[in-house]
């Protein structure tokens, strides 16, 4: 059998690249959407400059959260001492899976948060009076959308740090099963959060937009937003359950 030690670094660096690379896709597109909507709104209502700029910047900062999670995981993989761990093939799979899960898992929430920010910007220009309320709602909505990215972060931290040490009976077959279980967990949580992330982003984006237009109905709107976002998230939770099962009980 080949030495696991050299493969540890390879999989750590590959995981680091995947983590930041994939996570940045949606952060870029989402922030671009928010900025585009803000520019469009500014063209229609040049007077609403200051509030609009502030909302746009805040929304972009929150949209970036997923990409920052990806960066954190990359840093942990690169500097986190992958070279010091006593080499085991379990860890080789786990490091790659950690990067993959964080990278894939930030894609959906990034799109969602960006959509919410864009919708908020576009409505603020119409009714600058409601700017504060819309911004608050937008922040809550983006935080809801980022919950899925947080699930992916948890799975990838667990993969990084809580993978069980190999027991006495470590045959090649055992390693194959374990490594594919880790990769399966990362794919489940990574792709599984894409849909819910975008879905929640759509809910909160429409809710922010409607809140700006019909400020009198804000109670009913934000309640529906919470409920709808919570139900949309349930498939991401099923994915989290499957990921936990794959990591700990396979």
């Amino acid at each position: 059998m080949m030495q696991a030690d050299s493969f540890l670094l390879i999989s750590a660096y590959l995981g680091a690249a995947l983590s930041t690379g994939l996570a940045s896709i949606s952060a870029g597109i989402g922030e671009g959407y928010a900025a585009g909507e803000a520019a469009k709104a500014l063209a229609k209502q040049p007077k609403s400059g200051d509030g609009l700029l502030r909302t746009m910047l805040i929304s972009q900062a929150v949209t970036e959260t997923g990409a920052i999670f990806g960066l954190v995981i990359s840093l942990l993989l690169i500097f986190g001492g992958a070279g010091h761990i006593a080499g085991s093939w379990f860890k080789v799979g786990a490091l790659l899976a950690a990067g993959l899960s964080m990278g894939l898992g930030s894609i959906g929430p990034g799109f969602g948060a960006g959509y919410t920010g864009g919708q908020a910007c576009s409505v603020i220009s119409r009714l600058p009076k409601e700017s504060n309320r819309v911004t608050t709602n937008m922040l809550i909505g983006q935080a809801l959308a980022q919950t899925d990215a947080i699930f992916a972060l948890v799975v990838s931290l667990l993969l990084l740090y809580s993978v069980p040490n190999p027991t006495a009976s470590t045959t090649l077959g055992h390693f194959v099963v374990k490594i594919s279980a880790f990769l399966g967990a990362s794919i489940a949580i990574g792709i599984g959060t894409m849909g819910p992330g975008m879905g929640i982003g759509f809910v909160t984006g429409r809710a922010s937009n409607m809140l700006g237009r019909f400020p009198r109905e804000r109670g009913a709107i934000s309640r529906t937003m919470f409920l709808g976002a919570a139900v949309s998230e349930s498939t991401a939770i099923y994915a989290l359950v499957i990921a936990f099962l794959l990591i700990f009980f396979s």
């Binding site: 840093l75 942990l76 500097f79 986190g80 001492g81 010091h84 809550i140 935080a143 809801l144 919950t147 947080i150 699930f151 972060l153 948890v154 931290l157 667990l158 990084l160 740090y161 809580s162 009913a220 309640r223 919470f226 409920l227 919570a230 139900v231 998230e233 349930s234 939770i237 099923y238 989290l240 359950v241």
Partner: protein
Amino acid sequence: MTKKKIILIAIGIVFAVELVLSFYLNFSLNIGTNPETGKFGLYFTEEVVPMQDKINEETQPDQYLMDSEVVTKYKADNPDWTIANVIEKIESTQAEEDLEHIKEHLPWGSTSVYLFFHKFLGDGKTINAIRMIRMMFIVDLILIILALMVRRKIQFKPGKLQVATEWIYDSFEGLVGESLGKENKHFTPYLLTLFLFIWISNMIGLVPIPGISEPTRNLNVTIGLGIIAIIVVQYNAIKKKGLWTHLKSFAEPMFFLAPLNIIGELSKVVSIAFRLFGNIMGGAIIILVVSELVRYIMVPIVLSGFFGLFAGSVQAFVFTMLAMSYLAVEINTEE
């Protein structure tokens, strides 16, 4: 320059320092004589962060105890011993150092409490169960004391506490009335209790005392709450529609889809229980890892603010709203 600006700049500097520090993930800064060069001053030593141990201790305390050095040492001779046997052996041989080591892992550092619970629960669950039961008791005590405090001083001219409590109850009653209908306001006490219990459970994690953790971080608590919620829903659905009609509704649209409908009902428990558990547990793990990385400077406070205050409140509200909406779908079917 205003005061606000100075504070902002100070916070910025602290964050910049943290950023620099956090790049030295494997290093710790020491003051003293450098063992390599022999010079006195500041120097870095490389250390592997024992994050794996910390997470294991936090999430699987019993497994952590089983894998600890002392237990494995005693277990090497007698592989079929339980931890209770090991503790009894240590206590009978008066091995002071081993006793100290094992007491570090046990709740309250007490072997008698552990042995008492171990009789019922066995090796893999005891510490987790003691932690959970302890925190549940604390939350229940807080709720009961609050209730008694409010109850004792009900007056025609309300005090501050009474005003606050009445405001919470009124606004919740309005919410229940809107979603379940005016005639179903009698669900308010149950739903409000659910909300307050989960909210106080989530908030209690903000108390910075070791050993105090959110009871909702334990999956047993959240699944228990979820099962109770679904039982309430099913009971009221049967009461409202009659047993036969309710059972028939499971066989829609085709009779052979009944198993999938039942799984769908059970998946509601999974979904609300894991939503609460995943958020609270995820917050705890992230706070643990990040605090370790930045050496406990400033950032943990911000993170606790987000995960404890914001996510905790939102999740308590979402749990209650979901329980309410499951009820609404079942008991408001015909109009």
